[in-house]
Structures are given as C-alpha cells and as structure tokens.
C-alpha cells in the first residue's frame, strides 16, 4: 500500500480512536493521541520522499496526490511543529473537559494540512482546505469564550475565502475542463485577460484570509487568542502557512505569466507591508500576551507576503525561510504563553510579573524566540530579515524597505514588552508559588528555540530544500549565488558570513560575562527586587512598583495619526459593516459547531450538484 494513503488512514483512524477513548480513565487517550500523531509523522520522514504520488478516481473526479519539493518543505513545518505541539498539548491540556474533541480536531487539522500540501488537484485541495477550516474553527470555539464574536468572525472570513476559492475553482474548471493544478498553471497564459485577473484575485482572497493579509486579518487576533495555546502554536505556526503555500503557487505559477504581473506584485507586496506595519502597531498596544502574539503573527505574515509578492528568487528564499522561522519562534512563544497561563491562570501582562526566577527555562525559550522574532543576529530571524531587505533593495522597492524596516524596528517594542511583562519587573508575593512548567511543556519549547539558534548560523540547512522547491516553481538554481551553508549574498555580491559572527558574539559575551561574574565574586550578592532605589522611600505593601500599564504610551502617542486612521478604516467603516453582517448571519447560524459542519457539507453538495448540472460532467 502506498505510504501516502497509509499516513492519512492512520491519522483518521487515530483521530477516531482517540475520540472514542477519550472517556476512558488512564493514559490511554494520551498514548493513542501521541501515537496517531507521531507514527504517521515518522512514516512521513522515513517512507516518503519528494516525488512520490498517489492517484485514484472517485465520484467522477481524478484525484492526484503528489509530494512536490515545495509541499515537502511545508510538510516539514507541519509535521515538525505538529509533533512538538502534540507533545506539548498532552501536558498542557490535562484536566480539560471535552479532551476527545480537542485531540480529534488536532489530529484532523494536521492531516488536512498534509492533505493540502500533497493535493495536486483542486477538488481534494478544497476538501482538505475545508476540513482544516472546520477543525480549526472547532478549536477556536473550543474554550467557549466569546464564541459569538470571535468564532463567527473566523467562520465568516473563512467562508468568504472558501467562496472565493470555490468560484475560482469553478472558473478554472469551466475554462480548462480539468481539476489538476498543473493543468491550471500551464493553461493560465492562454486565459482571457479578465480571467487572468479575476482568478488569481479570487485565489488570493482565499489564501489571504488564512494568512491574515490586510484587510482580511480581522479574524486573526481573536481566533489566535481564543483557541487553546497548544493548538495556537500550530495554528499560527503552520496553519497560516497554508495560505502562504497557496500564495506561492499562485504568484509563481500564474502571476509570473501575467503580462501586467509587475503591478500585481506591487499591490500584493504593499498589502503585505501594510499588514506588517498595522500588525506591529496593534501588537504594541496590546496588554494580553495572546493578543500581542496574534497581532505579531499578522505582522510576521506580512513580511512573508511581501517576500512572496516581490517574487524575485532572493525574496522567495527570504519569504519561505521566514515562514520556517516563524513556525519555530511563534510556536515557541505561544507555547510559553500557554505554559505561563497554565501556571498562573492568566496571560495578561498587567497581572503577571517577575516570573524569571520561577520559570527560568520558559524564560530562556521565550528569550530566544523573541531574539529570533526581532531579527537580531545570531539567531535565525536575522537571516530572513537580511534576505528580505537585500531582495527589496536589489529589486528597487525602496519605500517598501523603509516600511518594513519601520515595522521591524517597532517590533522591538512589543518584543520587550512580552519579556518584561511576564518575566521581569517586581517579583510579587501573589506569584510566589509559581513553579516551572512541566517537563513535557518545556522540552518542545526548548527544541524549537534551539532550532532558531541552529538556523541562525547554518541557514543552508533549510534554504537547501527551499531552493529545491523554488526550482520546481521555475526559478533558477540559487545555491552559490545567494547562499551557502553559512553565508549569504545579495544581488551585488556583498556577503554576510554567519559562522565567525556567532563565534565572535559568543567569545565577547563569554569574556565579559566571566568578567562580571568573577570580579568581586565574594562581595556580590543577590537582593530582592523590593530593595531598589525608590528615592529613599520604603514602598508600601499595596503599592505597585511594576511599570506595565500603557507601556508604550509615548510611542503610541507619537504614531497616533497612523493608528487613528487604522481604527477609523477598519473598525469604524469596515468593522461596522462586518458587525452588521454578523448580526445578519447570526440569524442563520445558531452558533454551535454542528450547524456549521452541516452547512459546510451542504456547501460541498451544492458544489457537486453545480458541477454536474452546470458543466454537465
């Protein structure tokens, strides 16, 4: 039997078994859950290589599943992060109600993502896409808070995306008579001009929703912050990358042949740039860690969209590398938030402070995640940022460089806020009892953070498969021109050599750390955070010495005009419209998951009907 189909069967069977076993006491369901995630992943790593395929016919459609190099790259993200998140979830989700549903959805979403990546025909692509949407939707409403607001927002946007994609698929089908992606790409150049514009736009709306591109990002902060953190790391790290995957295919496969593709690219790239700036600014204003990371995800996806939009080889490399990095560090950070929330019961900066000495490993993982996020060498985030800037400068997008740079510099603000809010500041009495998160939660974080460290010095490890994926999409070989194992080049041949940089940083850091430790070691002592220079006063018991309220107020005041326009635009105009739409749809949708599932099934049925009646096949 073909390994590909076997993987899916094990996923499905595992999901159902875990769901059934969820009411049995003991560790059975955990074991089943881990097994049904890890076994297929191990099979994927051992039994499958790029180029494998599996074809079958069902209900009059030809289904073709094949592992392309690009798909393989994204599958690496999905499987790697999936396993880590699964291990994390087992520990994090203990003692939660409805655990069976969580496990079921978790496995299903991993499966559907792999399905999307392996599909070479639009029907299975769309079906897996919908499975992914449902399962993630059920995760968003899983905790039952603010379902009306957040869940419906997510669902509406997903539905908009799905409709758009479906229309595009129908159009493609009517034009080519085939559901194969390859066929679509090949015949794109021959489409009529209006079709050449409309089809990519519809596809991009579908993919843009998932990758939270402005103005389709409205659902993202709520959905990311409301699903369980164990899933959000996967949600933000891997699931959103499906949108990027789709975009890469569209941009490389279609827009490359589009006569006015240049303008199209600029629009997409600027949309990405605006997404990056908006996401960053909003993230700075957040007081809840989940929201902060959610907006930060929006911003990071913005960078990736910029890279994909520009579409030069270096930009593509940058975008895909950043996609991998984002999965690593955002996975780490969401897991860290989950760990803190589990240990303290809240994820709000204004409540939790001074955890550094209580949760040192979580801090270490977050620190590395944050350094990677901020793009500071020697961790991996820098490589992605570097390639993005060089590609933008090399391809004459000067203003976009400034926009991206603004966003990336402003990102330091929320990076610091994240670390400061949770870990630094006063060590308060109310958090004295807090202990380090369980081992099973810490290990995945540390592994993922370690990944950012490794890739910061040896980005070639990941760029190599990326490069292979790009070659499949029609780009020339990039090795030696833009990258080596531990070296990067720009268009003009200027280089960054990463390995000696790492050694230099480590050497200097170690030297001065040792200096600071050894000098006066005997007379250096620890004092509590209450013994600070409070101008001679002794702080009273109830007085709060941690500065976290309105952390970046002066900065936000400085960018007020920018923020104001955003608020006006999205939430007063666009947002109001969306709210009105919600009110309308709320009458149709009752707000529980089954109804939506039913609705989606009806949707597919209609689609099948359409296919037979309209096109007579």
């Amino acid at each position: 039997m073909n390994t590909i189909i076997l993987i899916f069967i094990i996923f499905l069977a595992g999901a159902i078994l875990t769901f059934l076993a969820s009411n049995i006491k003991g560790l059975l369901k955990e074991v089943l859950f881990l097994a049904s995630v890890i076994v297929p992943v191990v099979m994927f790593f051992t039994g499958v290589k790029a180029g494998d395929s599996f074809n079958f016919h069902l209900a009059g459609f030809a289904f073709q599943w094949e592992i392309t190099p690009l798909g393989y790259l994204f599958a690496l993200i999905v499987t790697g992060l999936g396993v880590m998140a699964a291990i994390y979830a087992v520990s994090a989700m203990q003692k939660t109600k409805n655990l069976g549903l969580f496990y079921f959805n978790f496995i299903l979403s991993i499966m559907s993502m792999l399905g999307i990546l392996f599909s070479r025909d639009l029907v299975s692509f769309f079906i897996f896409w919908e499975i992914m949407t449902w399962s993630s939707y059920l995760m968003v409403v899983y905790q039952g808070k603010d379902v009306q607001k957040v869940g419906i927002k997510y669902f509406i946007f997903s539905a908009i995306g799905a409709y758009a994609m479906l229309m595009a698929i129908v159009m493609v089908y009517s034009l080519t008579g085939s559901m194969m992606i390859d066929k679509m790409i090949q015949s794109y150049a021959g489409f009529a001009f209006n079709m050449q514009i409309i089809i990519p736009i519809l596809f991009l709306i579908g993919f843009g929703v998932k990758s939270a591109m402005m103005p389709l990002h409205v659902w993202a902060p709520g959905a990311y912050s409301h699903s369980p953190m164990a899933f959000t790391s996967l949600f933000s790290g891997a699931l959103s990358k499906m949108g990027i995957y789709g975009m890469v295919i569209v941009m490389a496969g279609m827009i490359a042949y589009f006569p006015e593709g240049h303008w199209f690219r600029i629009v997409i790239a600027w949309l990405g740039g605006i997404t990056a700036v908006g996401g960053t600014l909003w993230a700075i204003a957040q007081d809840d860690a989940k929201k902060l990371l959610a907006y930060s995800s929006v911003a990071q996806l913005g960078y990736i969209i910029v890279g994909v939009g520009i579409g030069t080889p270096l930009a593509m490399l940058a975008a895909l590398f950043m996609a991998v990095m984002h999965a690593l560090f955002k996975g780490t950070l969401f897991m860290a938030v989950g760990a803190i929330e589990k240990q303290t019961g809240t994820s709000n900066f204004t409540e939790v402070t001074g955890l550094i000495r209580k949760m040192p490993l979580t801090f270490l993982a977050s620190l590395m995640g944050i350094i990677a996020l901020a793009g500071i060498p020697p961790l991996g985030g820098f490589v992605g940022k570097w390639m993005l800037y060089e590609s933008l400068i090399g391809s004459d997008h000067y203003l976009l460089v400034i926009v991206i740079f603004f966003s990336s510099t402003a990102a330091f603000l929320y990076c610091y806020k994240f670390l400061f809010g949770f870990f630094l500041g006063q060590e308060e009495k109310e958090w004295e009892h807090v202990k380090e998160a369980p081992v099973l939660m810490v290990i995945p974080m540390i592994i993922l953070a370690g990944g950012t460290f490794l890739l910061g010095t040896f980005p070639g490890l990941v760029i190599k498969p990326i490069s292979a994926g790009l070659e499949q999409l029609g780009y020339a070989a990039t090795q030696g021109k833009y990258w080596e194992m531990s070296m990067l080049f720009n268009e003009w041949g200027d280089q960054v050599v990463l390995e000696p940089i790492l050694y230099a940083i480590i050497a200097v850091f170690a030297f001065f750390l040792v200096f600071l430790l050894i000098k006066n070691h005997k007379n250096t002592r620890y004092v509590s955070t209450k013994d600070i220079s409070t101008s001679g006063e002794v702080p009273k018991e109830h007085e709060n010495l941690t500065f976290i309220q309105n952390f970046f107020q002066p900065f936000l005041r400085a960018v007020e005009p920018l923020m104001k326009r955003q608020i006006d635009f999205y939430y007063n105009g666009f947002g109001k419209g969306i709210e009105a739409l919600f009110d309308f749809t709320r009458r149709i949708y009752t707000g529980n998951g089954q109804t939506y599932a039913l609705y989606a099934i009806i949707f597919v049925v209609i689609f099948l009907l359409l296919k037979t009646t309209l096109f007579g096949i």
């Binding site: 509590s528 013994d531 220079s533 101008s535 001679g536 002794v538």
Partner: protein, 181 residues
C-alpha cells in the same frame, strides 16, 4: 587599605588615587545646606575639576552628603539610602546641625549628633558652610581616602548592632527593611 587585605601596596595606591579623584555625590538635599551645593558645583567654585560630581541614585554614589539638620523622618530615608550605597562609601556631615544640633538643639524632630546614627568621615562646620568650606571638606576627604583612613563604612559594618540600636531609639515603632547588609 583595609578592604583587600592581600592586595599590594602599589595597587592600593593607584586605587586610592582613583577613588580620591572621582567622588560621586548622591543628589540628596537633606536640609537647608542644599542651597550651597549648586554654587559649589557651578561655575565659580566648580567642584567638578576635583572630580566631584553628582550621582542620581545610591547605587552609583560614593559620598552621602548630609546637608544640614536631619529630621527623624529624613533620617530613616538617609539610612535606607546609605545602606543601598556600595562600598567604598563615605559620609560627610555638613553644617553645625549635624555636629551638635545647631540652633535646633531643643527641637523634638531633629537629631542632634549624626555620628551616632551613621559613620561620619568628615564634618564641615558652619551655618551655613561656604562653598570654599565644602571644597575644603572634600579635600579633607580626599586626603583621608588617599591615606586609607576613610573607613567609616567599615566601622558601620563592624558596629552595626550599636548603630541599629541608636537608630531604633528615635522611633521605636519603625520597621527596618530587612535586607540591609
């Protein structure tokens, strides 16, 4: 020098020379003597040419300048600040009030003899001492540092119990912060 017993003499000399020429005074105007500090620091008298400059927080400061009378309320803050300063540290009592209470000898709210509560290295008398006197006080302190005799902090460490007792006497209900020394 009594701080590092194993160190060599020439090293001590350099160290004391550096300490002597870099005196960072904590910005704490405890009493009315604070009015003569700005003239001391500014153009005519310019204490900065002797290496004297202000420090904003106790962690960075070397010298605690008690400028004049100390009320009991201020004394508590002064003690906290003094204990937050890092060795080597010196105390200069400035003005008659720190020596014997000055004209507030019968006030119920000011302490009369500073060296019962904090180890004073140098006293500057006068009400109020002129900037020249302040500079002379700094010069005296420099001389003591150079000779290695400005070891008030050492004395404080060794006789902590005695100082504590005296400090508690002014206000029996005052809870000391527990983290000192």
């Amino acid at each position: 020098m009594s701080y590092d017993k194993d160190s060599h003499k020439i090293f001590d000399f350099i160290q004391n020379w550096a300490r002597k020429h870099s005196i960072w005074v904590l910005a704490y105007g405890t009493g009315c003597g604070a009015i003569e500090i700005p003239p001391t620091m500014t153009s005519r008298y310019d204490a900065e040419r002797l290496g004297v400059r202000g420090a904003a927080t106790p962690r960075q400061a070397d010298v605690l300048l008690i400028t004049g009378y100390l009320t009991t309320k201020t004394l508590k803050r002064v003690i906290r600040v003094y204990e937050q300063m890092q060795d080597p540290k010196y105390v200069i009592g400035f003005g008659s009030c720190t020596i014997n209470g000055g004209m507030y000898y019968d006030s119920y709210n000011t302490i009369k003899v500073l060296d019962k509560y904090l180890p004073v290295d140098v006293y500057i008398n006068g009400c109020m001492p002129r900037p020249e006197a302040v500079l002379a006080g700094f010069a005296k302190l420099q001389q003591l540092i150079a000779e290695g005799k400005a070891n008030g902090a050492q004395k404080y460490k060794e006789n902590l119990e005695w100082y504590r007792e005296n400090q508690k006497r002014i206000s029996p209900h005052w809870v000391m912060p527990e983290y000192n020394w």
